[in-house]
């Protein structure tokens, strides 16, 4: 019995995309252990999300009840534990999102399961499954073994491609015994983040422009906006009055460490690099093939930013 239960995440009937990465991880695991994958969707009126997941070839159980209307760990966790027992799961997998991290450890206690967080890769086979996960802020990768009967982990979505559409999925209801009246957690409300640009220092994506913009930041802001990113600038651009002071990235400006940093028309003077070298992925777009920025960029494109950035923007929008 090495079945795998996937905890799906949905919001108002819309499936969260991270779920599909968790499905991929679950399938990889099931392949190694020889079990079956079942996904659990919880909510109230979440049928559409369950159908959407089934359309990816997934066997889905839908727990639909008023008590599950809001993503409360107190309400959802017992249902997850119950579902794991129903489907005979020895593994429970969830996306490493705020929801997955909130609910899974609570459910794991009911299952007597040990949990690994933010799994990046799966190794081993059969009873010898090893999970790779980051520790010390990603400075170290650990290979861990879980030594409980039932085991659980959350999956870092970026490390597993989302499952594609496929036939063969199904949706079946899961009876829910949780009573809303007994809950001691009350959901008050959700304030969604406004779509304005994020703060430079905690943006996931930063698109920055320099002297090469010749004062026109249109391509920079255009790309930043489709990526939900913040806009940065080199000191040269700020000193020229092309960008406000608080956009400046570098030694005397802000220090940023986004997942993606796009430096467009920035030569890469050391004082600029000081502010962005912590970025996970650096992209440089510059007409000058000898610009020092290419020495530190993960991906360098020798091109005119006025052509390349709009083209990249169109591709992002089309994806």
């Amino acid at each position: 019995m090495s079945n795998v239960l996937v905890l799906a995440e949905q919001s108002r009937g819309t499936l969260r995309k991270a779920t599909l990465s968790a499905v991929t991880a679950a399938r990889e695991l099931a392949h190694r252990t020889g079990g079956k994958v079942t996904a659990l969707v919880l909510g109230c009126g979440a049928g559409a999300a369950a159908d959407e997941l089934a359309a990816h070839g997934v066997t889905v159980r839908l727990a639909d009840a008023p008590a599950l209307a809001h993503p409360l760990a107190e309400a959802h966790a017992p249902v997850v534990a119950e579902a794991a027992k129903v489907v005979g799961a020895s593994w429970v997998v969830a996306p490493a999102t705020a929801y997955g991290k909130d609910v899974l450890p609570r459910a794991a206690v009911a299952l007597g399961a040990a949990v690994a967080t933010e799994v990046l890769a799966i190794a081993g086979a059969g009873a010898e499954i090893l999970l790779r996960r980051p520790m010390w802020a990603g400075n170290v990768i650990a290979e861990v073994e879980l030594r409980t009967e039932v085991k659980a982990f959350t999956v870092r979505p970026t490390e597993f491609p989302p499952a594609g559409r496929a036939p063969g999925g199904s949706v079946a209801p899961l009876p829910v015994t949780v009573d809303a009246a007994t809950l001691r957690t009350r959901w008050v409300g959700l304030e969604e983040v406004k779509s304005e640009r994020p703060e430079l220092t905690d943006a996931r994506v930063v698109v920055a422009g320099g002297r090469g913009t010749k004062g026109d930041f249109g391509p920079i802001t255009g790309l930043a906006d489709v990526l939900g990113g913040a806009v940065g600038a080199s000191r040269a651009a700020v000193d020229a009055g092309w960008a406000p002071n608080d956009w400046q990235v570098g030694q005397t400006g802000k220090v940023v460490a986004p997942e993606l940093y796009v430096a467009a028309g920035i030569s890469g003077a050391i004082q600029h690099v000081a502010g962005m070298k912590g970025a996970k992925v650096i992209v440089a777009v510059n007409k000058d093939a000898d610009a020092p920025i290419f020495q530190i960029a993960d991906y360098g494109l020798v091109a005119d930013l006025f052509q390349a950035l709009p083209e990249l923007r169109d591709r992002v929008q089309g994806a």
Partner: protein, 592 residues
């Protein structure tokens, strides 16, 4: 607590052991926690307002002083009865060191807690402390020390300020101009020195709001632009007689004694500043790429970082050894006795020489550090976008205030000789012995298996070097030696470097046994690097002094002795330096 209580300057004639010194590795958990608080204060309170502070935006420094008060950083040296913490000097210096990373504010902090507050702590009456000390400890009031005058800088007692008793005998009227007053623009309480009846040098506590007190405009300065430096002008300022600090005519004792602590504190603060600047240099060396590699790969850069590391290691070793000396001495004074602060003052004065050494040595290490940090930055070191430029400017004042380094250097041999003359230091006897050693070449027995055997051996030679050269100087000039400043400065360099080298060695001997192997090797590398430099400097200074004070056969004998006493086998020096550089670059900061 040290195994043996050393007197001031006794290091020149008695070898201390590792059990006689206090080191930065000896701090207690509370002391480390206090250091953390100071670090956090610099990072979370000072750093965000640094630009506003540099532009002297009104109220920023005062607000910071209040916050420092809230954090308890102003209470360290004061007695518990007045809301102080009555902590030891080691703790006080540790806080000063960490606050030293705070740039201009650290100058305001040191002035407030040192020369600003200590005169009141040491010499104030209960009534004076009741009235002022609580306010100073919380930062509600800031303090300043007014000694310097336009015509009286190094000649500190040459001031013209006067104090005249009013006919009713209730007030003194103060007249005169004090200048270069740190914290002048915002201080609420001034400790002012003036002559009563143009004769008796006396200290007064003067409130800022006293009619007749005006504060001049901010000086435009080379560095520490965020600190306040003004003149303070007294025109018939009416100060109640209750505000006379200490005794009439005993102001010089206050002025000089407080300066001892001030110098010591400055040594600690500049050591913190040096570590702070070093960090920028190491980080830049790793980040800057030239010829396709980080410049940290180049020996030229590594050697700088290694030398600066040993310099800071020596500064720390001096500051905390001295803290230990003073704390041990002060701990022998029975508390809650009427003469407590009298004895306390004598306890500190005992180490006036070491206080001067700390000031000179540590401020010059900082000078080396900021200079090389600019150099490591190349052209970027010269522009304001990088902090190296500011470190460079801010450093300069440290070799000037709290007694110029020349005044402090002269004080070292001057005080040593005076104490020897008074019979407090067996200099003559030891000089005789050193002379004998000079005449009879005796092979120094050294067991090479012992750790630091080579350094132990040369240390004895270095002390003999001082003794024979000092002896020759005395023989040549007798009483007039006090006017031979060139020779005195050379002797001072020898004495200062010996104290530094011995402090480094003792610290290494003390901490090495408890360190893991690789760390022990780092310490050994610091000892080797430092000893090599110290021996070279001592040999040069001693030769300089020899040429100044001797000629003919005496000179020949002296030079021969110096050569023999300053032999140091520094095999492995290059590896030692590379090791230190690697440690600094790996940590991206001063690695100890």
């Amino acid at each position: 607590m040290a195994a043996r209580l050393f007197k001031g300057a006794e290091y020149l004639v008695t070898d201390a052991t590792k059990d006689d010194v206090f080191t930065p590795e000896d701090f207690t958990e509370e002391q480390r926690a206090i250091a953390d608080t100071a670090d956090q204060f610099v990072e979370e309170e000072i750093a965000p307002v640094r630009d506003r502070l540099e532009h002297q935006e009104a109220g920023v420094a005062v607000a910071l002083m209040r916050k420092a008060g809230d954090a308890g950083l102003l209470m360290i040296d004061a007695p518990e009865a007045y809301g102080g913490l009555a902590l030891d000097k080691a703790t006080s210096m540790l806080a000063a060191e960490r606050m030293g990373a705070g740039g201009s504010f650290s100058v305001a902090y040191a002035a407030h807690t040192g020369i600003g507050t200590l005169p009141l702590v040491y010499y104030g009456t209960d009534a004076q402390k009741d009235r002022y000390l609580g306010k100073l400890l919380t930062g509600e009031w800031s303090a300043a020390y007014c000694l310097t005058e336009p015509e009286a800088g190094s000649d500190a007692l040459g001031g013209r300020a006067t104090a005249t008793l009013t006919p009713d005998g209730k007030h003194y009227l103060l007249d005169g101009t004090k200048q270069f007053i740190t914290n002048g623009s915002f201080a609420d309480l001034f400790t002012v020195f003036a002559r009563v009846d143009r004769k008796h040098f006396t200290a007064f506590l003067v409130e800022r709001t006293t009619p007749g007190v005006t504060v001049g405009p901010e000086e435009k300065k080379l560095g520490i632009k965020g600190s306040s430096t003004t003149s303070v002008i007294f025109e018939g300022a009416k100060v109640p007689v209750e505000n006379v600090l200490g005794e009439i005519g005993k102001g010089h004792k206050i002025a000089f004694n407080v300066l001892n602590v001030g110098r010591f504190k400055l040594g600690a603060a500049v050591t913190g500043a040096a570590k702070h600047a070093f960090k920028a240099g190491a980080a830049y060396a790793n980040a800057r790429r030239q010829f396709g590699v980080p410049i940290a790969r180049f020996g030229a850069i590594q050697e700088k970082l290694a030398d600066l590391t040993t310099g800071i290691f020596a500064s720390e070793s001096i500051v905390y050894r001295l803290a230990g000396l003073i704390d041990d001495r002060l701990a022998t004074i029975p508390k809650d006795t009427s003469g407590y602060y009298e004895a306390y003052q004598q306890g500190i004065e005992e180490y006036a020489i070491e206080c001067a050494i700390a000031k000179v040595f540590c401020s010059e290490v900082l000078a080396d550090v900021v200079d090389e940090v600019v150099q490591i930055h190349g052209g970027y070191g010269f522009i304001q976008e990088y902090p190296a430029e500011k470190y460079y400017r801010d450093e300069r004042i440290n070799r000037i205030f709290e007694g110029t380094n020349e005044i402090n250097r002269l004080l070292v041999p001057g005080t040593i000789l005076r104490r020897a003359l008074k019979g407090e230091l067996p200099l003559q006897r030891e000089t005789m012995k050193a002379m004998e050693a000079l005449m009879t070449p005796s092979p120094d027995e050294l067991d090479p298996a012992l750790p630091f055997a080579a350094e132990r051996a040369v240390l004895g030679g270095l002390k003999r070097t001082f003794l024979v050269v000092a002896g020759a100087a005395v023989q040549r000039h007798r009483e007039a030696l006090k006017d031979e400043q060139e020779a005195l400065l050379a002797l001072a360099d020898v004495a200062i470097q010996i104290f530094a080298m011995e402090s480094v060695l003792l610290r290494a001997e003390r901490i090495s046994p408890r360190l893991p192997e690789s760390r022990r090797a780092d310490v050994a590398a610091a000892v080797k690097g430092h000893t090599f430099g110290a021996v070279e400097k001592i040999a040069t200074a001693a030769r300089r002094a020899a040429f100044y004070v001797a000629e003919g056969d005496t000179l020949t004998v002296l030079l021969g002795g110096i050569r023999r006493f300053t032999k140091y086998d520094a095999t492995g020096l290059l590896e030692a330096k590379r090791r230190l550089a690697a440690a600094a670059l790996e940590a991206e900061r001063y690695p100890f």
